[in-house]
Symmetry: C2
Subunit: 203 residues, 2 copies
């Protein structure tokens, strides 16, 4: 398997001996497993179980980008970020990308491309954030969830890079969206664009 769980990792592998739910709150679930380490010893492994998420890099026709400014409670400050959201139970990733972009920004896209996935907290969460690009954007009404407050802003890659260099843009998924955008604009990490499926176009 390309992602790495192959024979060359046999000397690193940790096998699950037991697994239990250690905590379940309104938002977070923690599991506490016991694993057998490569030397035969045992160790606790504690981690967040996450449904997965999608981030969207929304490209306007003039090359500018749509970003959000949103309060992030654990840090007690606002962050500049690309639109993103968690998968609903059973939700298709593409459908989630279309839904989150529309709900949070009002924009609908004519075309989409899946770039890849990022894993943001590999030592203590199984979260993966799918990285999607959207273009052919049309503005529309947004539909924020109750209790959701965020500003939609139009910016450029150069402005985001300057903010990152100044230490003002620190959100991991957004920085990685900028990395994907830089390499895809240069043709090094090509994107495969496809039309928005008819079934999702009304989202």
């Amino acid at each position: 398997m390309a992602a790495g769980a192959d024979d060359r990792d046999a000397h690193l592998r940790e096998a699950t001996l037991s697994s239990r739910e250690a905590y379940r709150g309104p938002f977070l679930q923690v599991r506490h497993d016991v694993a057998r380490l490569p030397d035969g010893s045992e160790a606790s492994r504690e981690y967040i179980v996450h449904p997965g998420a999608v981030m969207i890099v929304p490209l306007l026709d003039d090359g500018r980008l749509v970003v959000e400014r949103q309060w992030r409670y654990p840090h007690h400050r606002a962050f500049v970020e690309f639109p993103a959201g968690k998968l609903d139970p059973g939700e298709d990733v593409f459908a989630c990308a279309v839904r989150e972009l529309a709900e949070e920004t009002g924009y609908r896209a004519r075309e989409w491309a899946r770039a890849g996935v990022l894993h943001n907290a590999i030592s203590y969460s199984d979260e993966g954030i799918e990285i999607w690009f959207a273009r052919g954007l049309s503005p529309g009404e947004r539909r924020l969830d109750a209790g959701e407050f965020l500003d939609v802003q139009i910016t450029t890659l150069a402005e985001l890079e300057a903010a990152a260099a100044r230490g003002e843009l620190t959100d991991a998924k957004t920085l990685i969206g900028m990395l994907w955008l830089t390499h895809s604009l240069a043709g090094r990490w090509p994107l495969r664009w496809r039309d928005t499926p008819r079934a999702l176009a009304g989202a």
Copy 2:
């Protein structure tokens, strides 16, 4: 404040009404707060309390990079990553960077530069990962913690970029280290190098 908790965010701000520890395991701590939202309503905010971490981008004199291949239990596979580790209680960030590089890879650096910080799970963790660069590397003995197993590998930025484009390199901090390296090599995100402090050189 440059990072964003300023007056322009008053309409986004969430104020803490109460805060309690909801879970404490051997590794993870969860807090459950009640916050007042901008419209006056109340909402639960649940998040991991994390001591913070440091990632090191280790540059060999020939331009190659030192990375690790390590099993990450929540994903049941190995990841290619830059060296990183959590801050010990009360530990200075610079000291942590020097310690983690030496313990995990055996390398000691003549010079260091702090690039910035990344926030990897802003909706549910207060973790920040400091991004440091190290150069003038000398190999030496590593001192892994008990139960710690990882391979040290030498690679290039081009190889890491190819692995990311193929979907094989997905660790967020490592992708962001590559972003910083790309921009600093191009002179756009300059690094301020300093010698390893004498007090840390023996670490």
